[in-house]
């Protein structure tokens, strides 16, 4: 990765094994300053483990990474000063007010009192919680908590901000709102943002580049546009109950999922009639057909053989969602 002399984050063959489980299995990539970088993957793919390794909460089994040229093994304190984190699960003290939570953070990070006060006001204004600063966090909604956590993550002016599933369990409107903050942040400051997400539209909307993580490895890494282009052509999706696996040179890729047959082809509208004829000859009944440009969802399915949807609400997430909305 020769273009990455300006890399803020560099992972070198990073590995983390939990007994037999290879949670992170040799991951290398670099992220440039100011980038919004997405880690996309199903539950248990290793996204959060990568994040925990980078923010020094876990020790790598092998390999290492640097953040702002500080090694996550050797220079923990410097790494910690350079990063801000918004965890997947809320990590606020809900018996303290918004202001007290931020003040606590500022003190832990040695921000002098005057700067601390000024910065807190500024950030509370940014996330539109200024008039709520004396309210106990337990009275906050899920979206407000998230916004407060983002403000807190930025308080010590980190060079890198980690967002672990920043909008999980939030309603669509609040999600849009958080996206706006993230974009604004990226526009107004030089902060580099790494986010993990389940949500394709989130990755598509926000990220400059995406790494698709599957079983601890990188399945693909590129810009959303390039990833979609890699699939190329268009996707014909057929719904059928019958066994139907056409194999022709003009079908670039094929996968079945949940009763749907997804075929990637060029000039889909012409190929469709051909396909229908073949189906008819073989006596296969097709319930419905759709044609669409490849989405990140298709990219994901292509690289991992799974859709995100089925992974979307695991039991753990259900709990998270319930907790966050309470």
């Amino acid at each position: 990765m020769s273009t990455m002399d300006t890399a803020v984050i560099q992972l070198c063959d990073l590995k983390k094994y939990f007994k037999e489980v290879r949670a992170v299995d040799g991951v290398s990539f670099a992220i440039a300053q100011g980038e919004i970088f997405g880690l996309l993957g199903p539950n248990g793919a290793g996204k959060t483990t990568i994040l925990n390794l980078l923010c020094t909460l876990l020790k790598p089994t092998a390999g290492t990474a640097t953040i702002c040229h500080y090694d996550i093994r050797k220079n923990k304190d410097e790494v910690r000063k350079s990063i801000g984190i918004v965890f997947q699960d809320p990590s606020l003290d809900d018996q303290l007010t918004a202001l007290e939570n931020l003040d606590f953070h500022g003190r832990l990070y040695h921000i002098p009192k005057v700067v601390r006060r000024e910065k807190i006001e500024e950030l509370l204004t940014l996330v539109e919680l200024r008039d709520k600063k004396h309210v106990l966090v337990k009275n906050f909604s899920g979206g407000m908590k998230r916004r407060l956590e983002i403000a807190r993550g930025l308080l010590h002016q980190p060079q890198v901000l980690f967002l672990d599933e920043p909008t999980l369990g939030l309603d669509p409107q609040t999600r849009r709102h958080i996206w706006e903050y993230i974009k604004k942040l990226n526009h107004d400051t030089t902060v580099t943002i790494i986010l993990t997400t389940h949500y394709m539209e989130e990755a598509d909307e926000l990220c400059h580049r995406i790494a698709i993580i599957d079983r601890g490895k990188i399945a693909a890494i590129d810009t959303p546009a390039q990833l979609k282009k890699q699939i190329g052509g268009e996707v014909i999706s057929l719904k059928t109950d019958d066994e139907f696996l056409p194999e022709y040179p003009w079908i670039k890729s094929i996968n079945t999922h949940d009763g749907h047959l997804n075929l990637t082809v060029e000039e889909a509208d012409q190929k469709l009639s051909l396909l229908m004829r073949i189906a008819q000859e073989k006596g296969i009944s097709i319930d419905s057909v759709t044609i669409h440009k490849p989405t990140l969802e298709d990219v994901f399915l292509h690289f991992t053989g799974k859709t995100m949807r089925e992974e979307e609400t695991s039991w753990a997430d259900e709990v998270r969602i319930r907790r966050r909305s309470s």
Binding site: C55, T56, L57, L58, D77, E78, R80, K81, I83, I85, F87, D89, P90, S91, L92, D93, D94, Q95, L96, E100, F104, H105, R107, L108, Y109, H110, R152
Partner: protein, 250 residues
């Protein structure tokens, strides 16, 4: 390693939380108060210990109880912090784990002391004689030693527990036996052999004995010996608690 700012910050948080949980404080004082007022008064009619009434004998034991219960539960409360994610916020800050545990412990000792002092005032109102200045200072020292030791015992337990399900186990198999074996309710002199060993291996026994020395001027062991045992217990708990906390993964 030491970071006074961070230690103060952690302590301050515990103070704020303590002040906001008034109902819990009152709740935790109700139980020993009932024992003192109801059981104490009841047994007062039939029991005396030399020149002491049963109430006077019992009161130091109940101060020990307040110290024990609130310090261990405080230590275990770290599990809350972990479950609600706040511990992560602390652990990723550029603060050493040693500073974190010092701040936490100071917070726990302070909140425990505040509750015990509140109960001490109740004891004075119930007719326990007010000790002289030196004895009072010694009393505070003993209370702090007890609180420190058991806060760290609580922290040690919290490092080895995944969630709150273990709490009732610890309540029934650690806190209760430690309390009942401590001689809070009965004198140590004429115990049968098997129980004597259990009682003598309970660190709180020496704590309550020292509290009795300070408050009602009787004790089984010399105060110097009690202080020594409490110091060794405190140091041991600090070593184990700190080790477990520093090596704990999340």
């Amino acid at each position: 390693m030491m970071n006074l700012d961070a230690i103060y910050t952690l302590w301050l948080r515990e103070m704020k939380r303590f002040i906001r949980s008034r109902s819990r404080i009152i709740g935790s004082l109700a139980f020993p108060l009932f024992i003192l007022v109801i059981i104490g008064t009841g047994l007062n009619t039939v029991l005396t210990f030399g020149r002491l009434s049963y109430n006077q004998f019992l009161a130091p034991g109940l101060i020990g109880m307040v110290l024990l219960f609130s310090s261990i539960s405080f230590g275990i409360m770290i599990i809350w912090d972990r479950q609600f994610g706040f511990l992560k916020e602390i652990l990723v800050a550029p603060v050493s784990r040693t500073s974190i545990i010092i701040g936490k412990t100071l917070g726990g000792v302070t909140t425990t002391m505040l509750q015990a002092l509140l109960f001490l005032v109740v004891c004075f109102m119930m007719g326990i004689p007010f000790p002289g200045f030196l004895k009072l200072m010694l009393l505070f020292l003993v209370m702090i030693l007890i609180a420190t030791g058991f806060v760290l015992v609580g922290i040690a337990f919290s490092c080895r527990m995944k969630d709150f399900h273990g709490f009732s186990l610890i309540m029934n198999f650690v806190i209760m036996p430690v309390f009942f074996l401590s001689g809070a309710f009965f004198p140590l002199e004429r115990l049968p052999g098997w129980m004597k060993w259990l009682v003598y291996s309970d660190p709180l026994t020496y704590g309550i004995d020292a509290l009795r020395f300070c408050l009602v001027n009787t004790s089984t062991f010399p105060i110097e010996f009690n202080l020594m045992v409490l110091t060794i217990f405190g140091a041991g708990a600090t070593a184990v608690g700190t080790f477990l906390f520093r090596t704990a993964q999340l």
